[in-house]
Amino acid sequence: MQFISYLINGISLGSVYAIIALGYTMVYGIAKMLNFAHGDVIMVGGYMVFIFMVNLGLPAIVSIVLAMAVCTVLGIVIETVAYRPLRGAPSLAVLITAIGVSYLLQNLALLIWGSTPKSFTSVVNMEPLRLAGGQLVITGESIVTIGVCIVVMVGLSLFINRTRMGRAMLAVSEDKGAAQLMGVNVNGTIMLTFAIGSALAAVAGALLCSSYPMLLPTTGSMPGIKAFVAAVFGGIGSVPGAMLGGILLGIIETLSKAYISTQLSDAIVFSVLIIVLLVKPTGILGKKISEKV
C-alpha cells in the first residue's frame, strides 16, 4: 500500500515535470535551441498565481488563467527580444543568451519580490481520496495534477496532429526551409511554440507550488533542469517522449527518495539519465536523425 502511495506521488511529480518538459521539447523541436529560461517562466507563473489568488483574492482558476496570459506574453517577449535576433547564430551564442535570460528573470524576481519565501496556498480545493479503508490516501493536488497532465497531453496531441497550425509546427521542426517554401511563417510558428510552452509553464508553476508550497525566485531552477533532463530522457523534440520522460523521472525520483536515500535521489535520477543515453543516445522515444535521400 505504501508503495502504491509513493508511486502515485511519483506520477504526480512526474506530471509536473512532463508539463514543463513539453515546453523544452517543443521549443527544441521547432527552434532547435535549448531555452534554459523556461524554468524561470514557471517561477514567474507561480508568483503571478500568488499575486492574483492570495493578494487580490481572485478564484484559483481565474488566477491560473491570468498567470497563463502573463507567461504567454513573457514567453513571446523573450523569444522576440532575446532569441529572434540570434536566429542563424552559432548555437553556443544562443545557449549563453538563454542562460542570461534565466539569470535576468531570477534577479528581477529577487528585486521585485525579495528573497523571503512566500508560502503558497494550494490552487486545489479538494478532499483527499481515501482508499483501502484509509490506508491509501491520494491528495487532491495529486489527482488534479495527474488529471491536468492527461488533459494537456491529449489536447496538445490533437492540436499538433489535427490542426493547420499544428501541422505547420511539425513541418518547421522537420525542415524549416521547406516549411517556408510551403508558405509557413516560421517566425510566427516559433512564437506560437514559445507562447504554448510558456502558458503550460504557468500551469506547471501553479501545480508545483501547490504541492511544494515554497515560492522563491529560484523555485523554477531545479524543476526546470529536471524537466530538461526528462525531455532528453524521453527523446528531445518528441512530445510523447517528454510526457514519458517526465513521468518516469518523477517516479524514479520519488521511489529513490522513499527506498534508497533522500540525499542521493537526484544523483540516482541523473545516473539513470546517463545510463539511458549511453544505451540509446537519442532518448527513449527519440527519432534517429532521418537520412535524406
Partner: protein, 238 residues
Amino acid sequence: MEEMLSVKDLEVSYGAINAIRGVSFHVDQGEIVTLIGANGAGKTTTLHAISHLLNPKAGEITFCGKPIQHMEAHQIVKLGLAQVPEGRRVFASLTVQQNLELGAFTRTDGNDAIAADYEMVFARLPRLKERRRQVAGTLSGGEQQMLAIGRALMCKPKMLLLDEPSMGLSPLLVQEIFNIIRDINKSGVTVLLVEQNAKMALEVANRAYVLETGSIAMSGDAHELANDPKVRTAYLGT
C-alpha cells in the same frame, strides 16, 4: 509576352564568399526557362534568393511586376511563386497526403477547390495516389521527387522554380520527370528549371541561361545554345 519573373543585378554572398555576382535574367509568362551550370556555379543560391530563403546583398527581384526581394519567404509563396527545392526535401515523417496538405497551406479558396487540386495532382502523378497513406521518408527517390513537385503544385502556383529535379534519378525516371514538367507548363504554369543535366534541360526549355561561377556567361534560345560549340564541349560533353 508579359514578364513574370525578373532578376536584376543580383548579388548574394555567404560571409566573405561572393556566390552570385550581378546576375540578371527574366522569365516570361508561359515559358520554360532553364538555368544551367556546373556544380557550385550558384544555381541553388539564385533560387534561394528568389524565394527569400536567404537575403540577397544587392539587386532587384520582381514577380508579376511586384518587387519581392524584401518580402518574407512565406509571403512570396502566397503570391504564387513555388519552389521544388534541391534534394526534394519532403517531410519524411509525414505521409504523402500530409505533405500535399502542407503544400496547400496558403490556400484560402475553399475545400472544394483544394480537393479538385488533389485530384489534379494525382492525375498528373498517379504513383502518389497509390501511396497517399505511405510515410514520405520510405518513398523511392523518384517518388519523392514527384511528391515534391505535387506538393508545390498544391499551392496553385503561377510559376514553379525547380532545382535539379533529375538529380540522382535513372534515365527513365528523368525522362518521366521532364515529361511531367512539360505537362505542368502546358497547363499554364511558368517554369524556371535549374539543371546540371544540360542536355535534357535544353530539350524542354524555350530559353536558357548559362551560369558560371556566379555570373551569366551565355544566354539565348535553348536550341541555339544546344548547338553552340562552347556549350557542347563544356556542358553536353560532345
